[in-house]
Symmetry: C2
Subunit: 210 residues, 2 copies
């Protein structure tokens, strides 16, 4: 019997290293499925449709919501963001875990909808000075945009206590190792190993045939 | 703020490698405290009082139970076994995790009493043939004793589904690594990191002072 795939939610303020860590996890475990968020916001330079985001016109996005095709969605700064259900359902049925790089609003909705199948992880920055430094080092945003992100970061951090695991990203390699540890351990939980029932049945048969 | 120590329950049928794995965990993490079980059964050759077991006369054991000094206790094959409370409470207060090498009866009582502070792990043998081989290779027991242990093993295995984590000990090094992974991940759970509240308070102060 195949196990049902897990939904792994990574949330953090922008600049805490979440996207880099998500990429590293994807490279580490090729069975992982990445949930590409849909959004109505326009692509930024360097973003690829279908990889970074699935870019949608608002009517198309709203039609998907109406048809129940979004597992979660929310409006942020006037733009819609959501997680299309189809890829997630397919990965779960194939026994593959899905990684979500989403904010607390999306995380909360997925936890409500899929409770037992969700593992949620919040990534904190070591300090706010470091968070701002990382945001500025991208060098693509104005001071006003940075200020807006910092306000959003503070709001995001206020939700840290809703997550199963919390880690502080002081060092990327260390944080990566911690994420892998969490995934490995979660996969060892009894209720994530449906094959055990058959395995123990086999042990009992062996006892009885002695 | 110091975190409260965890109670880590290792259970398995005799011969599945539990005691070896417990010893390895103790060697790996010197902050771990091992809960030395008390028992009324006589010492076996090579067993040290206060290390393998705390050997007690029955009246003394029963007085401890009456005084509430056992966190759990049970009678097996006419002998009493129990976990003295004092060392466990002390370790928890010091923020050190305690390792229990106990059977399902003891595990069940500790889970009832200390719910949120318990992580329970069941270790399965790869096969019953291998379990019997390991039991016989100790070379100290008669066929009748082996038969009794095998019956007890089957009963013990029947409780595997009451544990948080289950692992199959096919290889000691691999099983040891899996146990360490579980411990590391459990310590990263939000509710096991009381220091996070202060840490996030510090981040908020940093936001507000910008």
């Amino acid at each position: 019997m195949k196990r049902k795939g897990l939904l792994i939610i990574l949330s953090s303020p922008s600049g805490a290293g979440k996207s880099t860590l998500a990429r590293r996890l994807m490279a580490w475990d090729e069975t992982l499925s990445f949930s590409v968020s849909a959004t109505t916001r326009p692509p930024r330079p360097g973003e690829t449709d279908g990889k970074d985001y699935s870019f949608k016109a608002r009517p198309e996005f709203e039609a998907m919501v109406a048809a129940g095709e979004m597992l979660e969605h929310a409006e942020v700064f006037g733009q819609l963001y959501g997680s299309p259900r189809a890829a997630i359902t397919q990965a779960m049925q194939e026994g593959r875990d899905t990684l979500f790089d989403i904010d607390w609003q999306g995380g909360q909705q997925i936890k409500q909808a899929m409770a037992g199948d969700v593992v949620s992880i919040f990534i904190l920055p070591p300090s706010i000075a470091e968070l701002e430094r990382r945001l500025r080092s991208r060098g693509q945003d104005s001071d006003a945009v940075i200020a807006g992100r910092m306000a959003k970061s503070q709001a995001e951090i206020s939700h840290w206590a809703e997550y199963d695991y919390v880690l502080v990203n002081r060092d990327l390699d260390e944080a990566e190792a911690e994420l892998k540890t969490i995934l490995r351990a979660e996969r060892m939980r009894r209720d994530r190993q449906p094959g055990l029932t058959d395995f123990v049945r086999g042990l009992n048969r062996e006892f009885d045939e002695r």
